[in-house]
């Protein structure tokens, strides 16, 4: 068996979800190759070659691959597919956008968002917003799979010494062109990889009030998250959203502040090791899953917590 991993990166460094995807691949077993498709992405290919367990890096370096346009990357996967038993990508917006396009071209029914590997053809995945777990077995010759990063250990970033092979990407389609990106710039850790996440909900009340969440997060070296309600209300940008339709996180410590605990939010964070809830409503559903609940006005409790830590 050979497994191809579609690496997510920004032409400079590999995104951490790729490492968890490689972790899932090592549970399936077999040779692990990594496809780095980008522009001037040699540093990424070098980085990928060092990852423990990777035996080959395929580098597709072309100007047309500067941005991860599905229409241009899917054909590369299709071209390489016959060498592999599995093709894996992280279940991030990157992987979710590209992999189904390749799957359809290969006439394969993709398995999305796996949380466990049972065998080389059988996997567990959440359905109904995580309210049920389905165990599914694929009968396709090549398995295309997206991997939920939080449930697999990351592969070590050193210890490997893979060869790097150049791949000549086919000419880009003119179907889609990149216009612009507005990316959040932050000194804080990445939400899905952070050890501690501090999240605010509707109870925080405004964009300005989110400053108290930020202060606590900075004290703890934590990433900042938010409930859908807080994002919809415009307190924070969309990429802060934790939940079934946002990001799935599983840090060592998750602090939910002014978050009631709607089912779709819980689906995004209930894998966290320790959950703290601070909410003035003692009946909020978040308390039913929190390890430590504090019924208090967040505007008193959070500054006090920040100060005393």
């Amino acid at each position: 068996m050979s497994i191809l991993i579609l690496a997510e990166h920004d032409n400079k460094t590999i995104k951490s979800a790729t490492l968890n995807t490689i972790g899932a691949a090592s549970q399936i077993g077999g040779d692990i190759h990594v496809l780095v498709a980008g522009a001037n992405c040699d540093a990424v290919a070098q980085e990928a070659a060092q990852i423990a367990g990777v035996t080959k890096v395929i580098k597709a370096d072309a100007a047309s691959l500067e941005h991860p346009i599905a229409e241009n990357i899917a054909p590369i996967l299709v071209d390489l597919a016959s060498n592999y038993s599995h093709i894996l990508a992280p279940a991030t917006t990157f992987g979710k956008n590209i992999l189904p396009r390749a799957a359809a071209l290969l006439d394969t029914q993709q398995i999305s968002d796996i949380i466990a590997v049972e065998s080389a053809d059988t996997f567990k995945r959440p359905v109904y917003a995580g309210n049920a777990i389905a165990t599914v077995k694929s009968s396709d010759a090549i398995k295309l799979i997206t991997v939920r990063g939080t449930t697999f250990d990351a592969a070590a970033t050193s210890g490997g010494s893979a060869s790097i092979e150049d791949y000549n990407a086919p000419e880009a389609t003119n179907l889609t062109t990149f216009v612009k990106a507005e990316l959040s710039v932050s000194e804080r850790p990445e939400l899905t990889a952070a050890k501690i996440v501090v999240s605010g909900g509707r109870g925080v009340g405004s964009e300005e009030n989110f400053a108290i969440i930020e202060k606590l997060a900075d004290k703890l070296g934590a990433a900042i998250g938010a409930s859908r309600a807080a994002v919809d209300a415009g307190y924070v940008p969309n990429d802060y959203q934790v939940g079934q339709t946002g990001k799935i996180v599983a840090p060592d410590l998750y602090i939910a502040i002014g978050i009631s605990g709607a089912i779709q939010h819980l689906a995004g964070m209930k894998g966290s090791k320790t959950i703290v809830a601070i909410n003035k409503d003692a009946d909020a559903p978040i308390f039913a899953i929190a390890d430590y609940g504090l019924v208090a006005d967040l505007f008193d409790a959070v500054p006090e917590l920040t100060e005393k830590l």
Binding site: A70, E71, T92, T93, F94, K96, I98, P100, R101, A102, A103, A104, Q109, Q110, I111, S112, D113, T122, P126, V127, Y128, A129, N131, A132, I133, A134, T135, V136, K137, S138, S139, L175, T176, T177, F178, V179, K180, A181, E182, L183, S184, I196, N238, D239, T245, L253, I263, K270, K273, T274, V276, F287, I289, A290, D291, Y292, G293, L294, A301, K308
Partner: protein
């Protein structure tokens, strides 16, 4: 411009679902069914394009049981012009009509209807695959704009702003194209009573999958469906000091 909006009949998002005790799936008997929320956003977006004069016709299509006509009628009450039901008795949530089969069905319909744009939800809230739009775009060789939070169509140019993990990304798509909707694209309207009455008279055609030459045999076998592990609640602490003590000395996370 003609817009096709594929929708799906799913368990209403407010329903607390129950896993069948024999592990075969989720109990759908006597639960409220609705249009998949992301698809409702797609319907709304298509109708707004029609209201702004950019679209001429909005066609709803769904694959599902006879009763899925209810969801088509709901979309027509919001303002869509006509509907097509691809009738099947195969399950549509798990171990039934899979995204690849849906994409093939839609491709066959699109070859007949020749829409200029397809707008659909980014995923359904039952099987949570998030594949169909991308697969359909692949099969048609069309451009795809997934997870859209903003859609601008001017002079035949399609600009789509996408919600991605790091923030937002804007792409220009050639036409025809597939758009999949994210939560913040719009807020769907509620249908008014006179529109609900009017929708009953709108054209709704029923066809069978064999008419389109698509095979619904699943590729994925469901071995079992189980409840997720239950997370037990812990304790309440009465002060910030007590909380810090627990985090330091019991959970040892700070």
């Amino acid at each position: 411009m003609k817009i096709l909006v594929p929708i799906k009949r799913v368990v209403d998002f407010n329903v607390k679902i129950h896993v069948k005790s024999n592990g075969s799936g989720v109990d759908l008997a006597n639960v409220k069914m609705s249009i998949n929320p992301f698809d409702e956003i797609a319907v709304e977006e298509a109708i707004r394009l029609k209201e702004s004069g950019k679209a001429s016709e909005v066609i709803i299509v769904t694959i599902g049981p006879e009763k899925a006509q209810e969801q088509i009628r709901s979309a027509m009450a919001m303002g869509a012009d006509r509907g097509i039901l691809v009738k099947t008795d195969a399950p549509i949530d798990l171990a039934g009509v899979e995204p690849l089969a849906v994409a093939k069905t839609l491709k066959a319909l699109i070859e007949k209807e020749k829409p200029d744009l397809v707008i659909m939800g980014k995923q359904s809230i039952d099987d949570d695959f998030s594949q169909t739009g991308q697969m359909l775009a692949a099969l048609l060789g069309w451009a795809q704009g997934t997870f859209a939070s903003k859609l601008d169509i001017n002079d035949g140019k399609i600009h789509v702003t996408r919600e991605i993990d790091g923030g937002l990304e804007t792409l220009e798509l050639s036409s025809p194209a597939i758009i999949t909707t994210d939560l913040r694209l719009n807020e769907p309207r509620y249908a008014k009573l006179p529109d609900i009455m009017k929708a009953k008279k709108k054209q709704l055609d029923i066809i069978e999958p064999p008419d389109l030459g698509v095979d619904y045999t699943p590729r994925l076998e469901i071995i079992s469906v189980n409840e997720p592990p239950v997370r037990k609640g812990g304790i309440k602490v009465d002060s910030v000091d007590a909380l810090i003590d627990k985090l330091r000395n019991e959970a040892k996370v700070i």
